[in-house]
Symmetry: none
């Protein structure tokens, strides 16, 4: 399920978090679904179980997944909404980045392009009028 790059500078536990979030936001994992067990991920990706547990715990604390002792981890009801709200904080980061780029004399249009490109290539961001009918 996961694609883990042990040579990356982004910590493994963060790679797992990011990917679980994507799975949930994109619908690959639905609310109430069980997620891969710690042991399962551990053996399949040769990752220390402690590392996986750290990722799961962090998502548990944010109310995205929850542990059922003896059974495993499950996606919370309302996880999608919780995640969406959570991501709103990234707008501040967009602002910070924009300030830095503005100061460097890079035109705002260059940023707009990146955003348009990102939104047109992302499922949820794509306009899908057909779905309404």
């Amino acid at each position: 399920m996961f694609q883990i790059d042990p040579m990356s500078r982004t910590p493994i536990y963060e790679q797992i978090i990011k990917q679980l979030e994507r799975f949930i936001l994109s619908g690959t994992l639905s609310e109430r679904d069980q997620i891969p067990s710690v042991r399962n991920v551990s053996v399949n990706h040769s990752v220390n179980p402690v590392t996986i547990l750290k990722a799961y715990n962090e998502l548990d604390a944010k109310g995205i997944i929850h542990a059922v002792p003896g059974r495993g981890y499950f996606v919370c009801e309302g996880a999608v909404d919780a995640l969406s709200r959570d991501k709103l904080s990234l707008l501040a980061e967009v602002h910070r980045l924009a300030e830095e780029l503005a100061l460097a004399g890079i035109p705002a249009e260059s940023l707009f392009e990146q955003i348009t490109s990102a939104y047109s290539s992302t499922k949820k961001g794509r306009s899908s009028p057909d779905d309404q009918g």
Copy 2:
């Protein structure tokens, strides 16, 4: 000159780098100007000289400032251009962020707002005099 928060999660040497880059891009420090001496910053901000040196060295490696042992550090000629080019890499980060926000269902307009706001509050990004008429 600097505003250092030793409790911040961003390392002190990175805080110094960021701020020096701002000073150079905003014109507070001009090319060929001498920048505050390692010792000066050290005593004024109660930061270990090695920490400041680390920041200065990193900017030296990027061709933004250069050391003249026995005399001090100076802003390189062409530092502004070098910095601007360097900052272009942040556009990739904008893209990455936009993808994440798109997936979270946050409308592109929210991002555009952040950018417009950031650009209008930044000197270099501010509208030209003509707008006043």
Copy 3:
């Protein structure tokens, strides 16, 4: 692995850099290989870890090795090519030296001898098997 002379005029961190570069160019260390850990080198050669880190960081910045926090340092893919390109800048130093020797009236032949000698004693520079026939 390293041969460190704390009394040398060349800083310890430069000695480490030079030797790592040799190991990589000569194939003693291959691309993707892990290099000795900071702590390992520290205890084996009685050198402060910060000094070793400084050497490793410099090679990291040049794209020769890269850090994976929690796991160690590894030789980058393409490190040999990167190093070769990097060394091209030494040709300018050869020119500078040659000018100085020319002015001192030392015949060019003396320099040619040094080069021939150096190239015949270096693996990569050594003549190919065909020459034996």
Copy 4:
């Protein structure tokens, strides 16, 4: 007389040494000639007299120039020969450089080119067939 770059990373005292050596080897300064006084150089180039003295002292120790208390510094008889002999040690540096370049896979021809170029552009190194007749 001197061309001093206070922004250079090569120490000012070394710049002075290098240039005096060139002047002597090229004949701009002849043996027994007086060289510019410390005070003179100091005011003309805004260099601390201590720095100039350091350069002169080093050449004095090598037997290239000598101080006549109350009168100034003079080029020693035999200075040209002394310098030529001194420069022979640079051949070792050529060897070291050649080894490094050989290991990096740079062809010996590239080094030969540099040397040929340097020798053809240097007065003393230039062939002067007329002298033989």
